[in-house]
């Protein structure tokens, strides 16, 4: 099989991009390289962009990813999450079959990478999830010039402009000052968002202990073990209700509207997410304090990045593909939605095991 492909590849003078990467049911398949990127079904060889569960799944034969991503998968799925693993650094290049694979920081969460796949003289960048905004908890996004850029479109509508995350954190701190007798409960995805919010709080000068829902302790400890300073963190479990007045607790989004919240004195429910830009989304979730803090690029970020890669062809996946494809086309770029299923907004899908008995 691989032999045939190699023969085919050498026969052709220029490869069409879809001969290098092609969406199939299991995910984005690289036939000349013999691997899938972020496969949603178990495959023989998987190259993984980052540790969020919709991109990093258990059960593959071999996994290539950054050390952090591998560590996170281990934390989530246990020691035997894959047959074998190989860590790769940012900037490091590896030859797989007929292609070269190089990892570049994506700025999304700790260890997140864009994967540049080069075959002959065609370079495709599968950017995974990315953001171009500053984040003290991960390596900043790096722009990779390429021929084909595969971009996410989670916030692919011009209404999504995330602004400065530190302003949002100031909003939270102002609320804590205004309501010192209430507990502030911040819904944040437990991998990446939570640690970023904590880091932003610290950067804003908040030095009181920050409380954590049980579901985010492990991953947060991991961030700390990688040298990210998050100040004093405490598990919220077992803390007396009255002692939580005036404090900030981080919890998975789904926990902030459940039985679990009854342990807090008159909680103010906040939610750190790019979705909070749209009022109806915040209201639908019963959020009192929406914080527009996103781990994804916003509309301006997506469009600026697409333009800056110099890519002449853009593949748009998960999110609001239509608008972004339209934008690309109106600027003379070839663009198409990429039919990939199984990726979504991790915030919507995260359902941690909230222990009802604890309430």
């Amino acid at each position: 099989m691989t032999g045939e492909l190699e023969a085919l590849a050498s026969y052709m003078t220029t490869m069409r991009p879809q001969d290098i990467l092609l969406p199939v049911a299991a995910g984005l398949c690289c036939k000349p390289g013999g691997f899938h990127i972020d496969p949603v079904r178990p495959v023989e060889r998987a190259v993984i962009t980052h540790g969020h569960s919709d991109h990093a799944r258990a059960g593959h034969g071999a996994v290539l990813a950054t050390q952090e991503t591998l560590d996170m998968m281990r934390l989530r799925y246990g020691e035997n999450f894959a047959g074998s693993t190989q860590a790769i650094n940012y900037g490091e290049e590896i030859r797989l079959g007929d292609v070269c694979v190089k990892f570049h920081p994506a700025g999304h969460v700790l260890g997140s990478a864009q994967i540049a796949v080069t075959c002959k003289d065609t370079c495709i960048v599968a950017s995974g999830d990315y953001k171009d905004a500053p984040d003290p908890t991960c390596t900043p996004f790096e722009l990779v010039p390429c021929d084909v850029f595969i971009t996410e479109a989670t916030f692919g509508l011009p209404v999504f402009r995330h602004g400065d995350a530190s302003d949002e954190v100031n909003k939270l701190l102002a609320s804590v000052t205004l309501f010192p007798e209430r507990a502030h409960l911040v819904g944040a995805y437990s991998l990446g968002k939570a640690q970023r919010v904590i880091a932003l709080l610290r950067a804003a000068g908040y030095d009181a202990p920050i409380y954590l829902h049980g579901a985010m302790e492990k991953i947060t400890e991991y961030y700390q073990s990688r040298g990210i300073d998050l100040g004093e963190l405490r598990p919220v479990k077992g803390v007396k209700k009255a002692a939580l007045a005036g404090t900030i607790t981080l919890a998975p989004p789904s926990a902030t509207s459940d039985l679990w919240t009854r342990r807090f004195p008159d909680p103010v429910t906040a939610f750190a997410s790019g979705w909070m830009r749209v009022r109806a989304r915040a209201r639908q979730r019963g959020i009192e304090l929406p914080l527009v803090i996103s781990d994804h690029a916003d509309w301006d970020g997506l469009t600026a990045t697409i333009a800056a890669t110099g890519a002449g062809e853009i593949w748009v996946t998960h999110g609001q593909e239509d608008a972004l494809v339209h934008w690309c086309q109106s600027r003379g770029l070839r663009a198409q939605p990429l039919d990939l299923v199984g990726y979504g907004d991790e915030e919507e899908s995260e359902t941690p095991a909230t222990d009802e008995a604890e309430a």
Binding site: G107, D132, A133, P134, P136, P140, F141, E142, L143, P145, L157, P158, V159, R161, H162, G163, D164, A165, S166, D167, E168, N170, K171, L173, A174, S175, L178, F179, L200, A203, A204, S257, D258, W260, T261, R262, R277, V278, R279, A280, R283, G286, E288, L289, P290, D300, T303, A304, T305, A307, A308, T309, G310, A311, D322, A323, H326, W327, S330, L333
Partner: protein, 624 residues
């Protein structure tokens, strides 16, 4: 403007009344004159300028954005003002964000900026740029300021050129500028002006501006709440503010000066001011033991709208008449047919009713006259308005509120006699010597003096003979003893989470009754209730809902409801109306959960026919 926008934004999400008050009072304390005064005016609906039409807003955004992108965005957001506020592109930023030629490295965009700005240093320096807001007391560097970014540029941009944002951008307008400009602006100048402001404000600022100019704030704040928050600024009773309010005008400099102890209380020069209303407590069976019938006067509680009808002479001796709701809203415009009857200076506390051929009509009939945009001659003719007087608070220049009720009642009788107007009559007292006698009267108003109007009697009122007219709900002065509500047994069908404190509880219930369907009996929803139960009962229902959910639709849970499985709720309600909007065809007035019938199997709950019979009885009245 950005600070005001931030307040609106926060208020729009805050469900708790006390917390809303805190946010409002905090704003009034922090923000100086005249901005806070215009904010108070905006919140109380006291601003007057020609509102911008949505079509104008559409034109503005169409000139700036791609129509396809706007269409997709509007579909997603669902609200015009919000869509425009969020996607409004800055004229200057455009050229920066989209480099004309897609030239590869080094990146001119944020990719590189992001690399360098990982340390987040931007956030601290940017605070100093926000001080352009019209705020006089900036002594405390409030963290709230964070949201109000002036230039609309972002931290990451700012990092590359920290002072770029204010170079070419004028400071965002203050609320005062916006309000005063809108008041004088010609129609043709409006689009250009709006465009300028939209360029100057941030997302939240633009949202608030558009809400303001289109006249649709809708953030769940009543005028009363805003005034209460202002009163709290000076530890004053909100009734005091209410009393002087009609004589005040935006931006309320005299009001704030008084609240902050810098000046005397403003004098109300309004010839027909509102007086804070006195309210009654619901009486419980156990209350009667400690009450002496001789201390009380009883009267019917009419099922209409409690109003205050005030007439007074202005400086030139002309009579001004106004009708206020119990929450001080001026509703004169809805009842022009009553105004000519208010020709004697004085203030009547009474009930607004519809009278046909001398007979009081039900609340359902009255309701058909309410909330109409146009009060047509036909409406006035078909629904003749009437005022039934309970009390007299002012007689010409004299304030009677300090007098005992018995004495005010005598004055009222004289006043109504002198007025001698067919549209205004006296609410009769109910004679009784013992509580038993009153119980009998309440049970059968028709034989106790209410005669043919008995159906419009909602219960009886008990007023202490010696009670002065006090604002609010003072203890032990006035009691209401309502007629027993209608009761049905219904089955819990769907449950939804509540808001605020109740957001972790399933506290909003949709209930149904049985009706014959194609495949035998089925439940049809007849109403929704979210109160009436105790805290303990809420816990019980919540637990039941969680354990018996059969399906989930977003925030709504489908709760098991079959003949032998489910929860029967005893629902109390005040009345019934035909409603084409409900599948069952009926709508309840004031439904609440009165009891949990754990003992009752769902199949024994009531049937729709029971409600239809009640409906027929009421409908007969409306159509006559």
């Amino acid at each position: 403007m950005n600070r005001f926008a931030e307040l609106l934004d926060r208020l729009a999400y805050e469900p708790g009344r006390n917390n809303k008050l805190r946010l409002l009072t905090g704003y009034f304390r922090e923000v100086g004159d005249p901005d806070r005064g215009y904010a108070l005016a905006a919140l109380t609906g006291a601003l007057s300028f020609k509102h911008a039409k949505p079509a104008l807003i559409r034109d503005l955004i169409a000139a700036r954005t791609d129509p396809v992108l706007f269409g997709l965005s509007y579909d997603y957001v669902g609200d015009l003002s919000e869509t425009v506020a969020l996607m409004w592109p800055k004229a200057q930023n455009n050229s920066q964000s989209f480099p004309g030629h897609p030239s590869p490295p080094p990146s001119p965009t944020r990719g590189e900026g992001a690399q360098r700005s990982a340390a987040l240093s931007a956030s601290t320096t940017s605070l100093s740029d926000f001080q352009s807001e019209g705020r006089t007391s900036l002594s405390v560097p409030s963290p709230l300021v964070g949201e109000g970014q002036g230039g609309g540029s972002r931290g990451r941009d700012a990092d590359e050129s920290p002072h770029a944002r204010n170079h070419n951008n004028p400071p965002p307008p203050t609320l005062t500028e916006v309000v005063t400009t809108l008041r004088t602006l010609g129609k043709t100048e409006l689009p250009k002006q709006l465009e300028r402001w939209l360029d100057e404000l941030d997302e939240t600022g633009r949202w608030a501006l558009l809400k303001l100019v289109t006249g649709a704030l809708r953030i769940g704040i009543s005028a009363r709440l805003a005034k209460t928050a202002a009163a709290a600024l000076g530890d004053k009773d909100p009734h005091e503010v209410e009393l002087i309010w009609p004589g005040l005008a935006p931006p309320y400099l005299d009001l704030f000066a008084w609240l902050e102890g810098r000046a005397e209380k403003p004098v109300n020069r309004d010839p027909a001011p509102f007086r804070p209303v006195m309210l009654a407590h619901a009486i419980e069976d156990s209350d009667f033991q400690s009450l002496d019938p001789a201390d009380y006067i009883a009267e019917w509680k009419w099922d209409g709208i409690r109003v205050q009808a005030v007439a007074g002479r202005d400086d030139r001796g002309h009579i001004t008449a106004r009708l206020y709701s119990r929450t001080s809203e001026d509703i004169t415009g809805s009842f022009p047919d009553l105004v000519p009857s208010l020709r004697l200076p004085g203030a009547i506390d009474g009930e607004l009713l519809i009278l046909r051929e001398g007979r009081v009509q039900s609340f359902n009939v009255l309701q058909q006259r309410l909330n109409r945009k146009v009060v047509s001659p036909k409406l006035i003719k078909e629904f003749p308005i009437h005022l039934r007087a309970y009390d007299l608070l002012g007689d010409d220049e004299n304030d009677l509120r300090e007098l005992p009720f018995a004495e005010r009642r005598e004055r009222l009788e004289t006043f109504v006699r002198k007025l001698d107007d067919p549209r205004i009559d006296l609410s009769p007292t109910v004679a009784f010597s013992s509580w038993d006698a009153l119980t009998a009267a309440r049970a059968d108003p028709a034989s106790a003096g209410a005669g043919e109007d008995a159906d419009a009697v909602e219960g009886v009122m008990l007023k202490r003979r010696d009670a002065p007219y006090l604002p609010g709900r003072p203890k032990g002065q006035w009691w209401k003893w309502k007629r027993d509500p209608h009761i049905i047994d219904a089955v819990l069908m769907y449950a939804q989470r509540g808001h605020g404190k109740r957001s972790s509880y399933y506290s909003d219930y949709t209930f149904g009754v049985w009706t014959a369907g194609e495949g035998g009996d089925e439940l049809v929803p007849v109403g929704k209730a979210y109160f009436g139960f105790t805290d303990e009962e809420l816990l019980q229902i919540d637990r039941f809902v969680r354990r018996n959910t059969t399906e989930k639709f977003g925030p709504v849970r489908h709760v098991v409801h079959e003949g032998d499985k489910g929860l029967v709720l005893e629902v109390a309600f005040e009345g019934l109306q035909r409603s084409p909007r409900h599948k069952s065809g009926v709508a309840m007035r004031f439904p609440r959960i009165s009891r949990l019938r754990w003992d009752k199997p769902p199949r024994e709950a009531d049937r729709l026919e029971t409600l239809e019979r009640m409906l027929k009885a009421e409908a007969a009245e409306i159509e006559m």
